[in-house]
Symmetry: C2
Subunit: 226 residues, 2 copies
């Protein structure tokens, strides 16, 4: 049992009762993970919280694949490396003067290099046809999975597990579908590598609220003066 | 000042320190809202938590429109009613034997009838082109806004504000863009009507985890036996 893990079977799992605002203020993508195993019961609790998120028309049309099988992991690792070899090159060139983005790319590179060693991958999927238009149908579709993904990530942060939302392993969605045995009616939406973090969680910096909020109409930055 | 609202300027806003798992377990869409005003400072705190959510490549390419202007609200109310008059009819016919869905449709109907009286609407948007393909590019795009929407909704639940994620007012995205003064480069993703609830938050029911989780490959419901 990991020291930060579940340590009793009664009541709330230690950590999950973290104050909401603290969990949000200290959430960040954790990519460098230890190889220590992740307890099934703990993972289950995070998935149960994920299932508490809202879905369009309360359809709950989600599916979650929990991958520990080395053979399936190896396939996704290969897809991820292939996509990152292109994305990483472009990214480094485009951000060569941005040390923060270069650090992020270093972490993504580390993740690509160690993908097979990640203890567990969680792959949230949606069932049912995604209409290609109108754009709001597309929005509503993804609005039924990302709230649950955010619940999962916040839960992981609260219990001290490292996690990050990535999509690179899904660039070739046909290959990803085959690796996971997904029928055409189920669309993989993201991959969440999960493990105990090498680094730590902590406060993040963001663009100031005054720069991204408009009042009544776009561009009216009244909060800037308030 | 509303009794459930912010009552000091030091430390954490009352409610926002709700245990994470409690906030998630009792989150639900609240559509029947009082007309009491919503404090600007409280709204700002929820938006600050929304901005703590992750975005793809940490782009933070979001924009939030906070609408209190009755003229803008009236336009969105009209769009919402128009879309619901069709959606609601289809929905009632399709779910005539499902009392739970009919109750949900009643709430959506109430919301449509009282849309102009909602104290404040929050409209999360994304900046930048949405590539129509590959599908994972679309996924990644929406993956940069719905985590922040979920933060906002969880924060609202924690402080006792009612809120719900809807998209019907955006079905005609050209009209919605015009009403909000959005340039082509900014896409509205959802509308969140916010106000003090007439009803109350409480535990929700969901499909059992064993029915939606697969181990290693789709369809392997090993957790069902565990």
């Amino acid at each position: 049992m990991h020291p930060e893990g579940r340590d009793n079977d009664m009541g709330v799992t230690p950590g999950l009762d973290m104050p909401l605002d603290e969990a949000m203020r200290t959430q960040r993508a954790i990519r460098r993970l230890k190889t220590d195993p992740v307890d099934d019961a703990l993972l289950r609790e995070l998935l149960e919280l994920a299932l508490k998120a809202p879905t369009g028309s309360n359809a709950q049309n989600w599916e979650f694949i929990v991958v520990r099988d080395p053979a399936v992991k190896a396939k996704l690792a290969r897809f991820n490396r292939r996509a990152f070899s292109l994305y990483g090159r472009i990214g480094r060139r485009a951000n060569q003067n941005d040390p923060k983005m270069l650090r992020l790319l270093d972490a993504v590179q580390w993740q690509a290099d160690h993908f097979e060693e990640v203890p567990v991958l969680v792959i949230p999927c949606l069932k049912g046809a995604r209409l290609p238009f109108p754009s709001v149908a597309v929005t509503s579709y993804y609005g039924s999975i990302f709230p649950s993904i955010q619940n999962f990530l916040l839960g992981a942060r609260a219990v001290g597990l490292g996690a990050a939302l990535i999509t690179l392993p899904l660039w070739n969605v046909i290959a990803a579908r085959r690796a996971l045995g997904l029928p055409w009616s189920v669309t993989p939406c993201a991959v969440i590598p999960v493990g105990w973090p090498q680094g730590r969680y902590g406060p993040t910096t963001r663009r100031p609220i005054e720069d991204v909020v408009s009042i009544d109409r776009y561009g009216n930055r009244a909060w800037r003066e308030a």
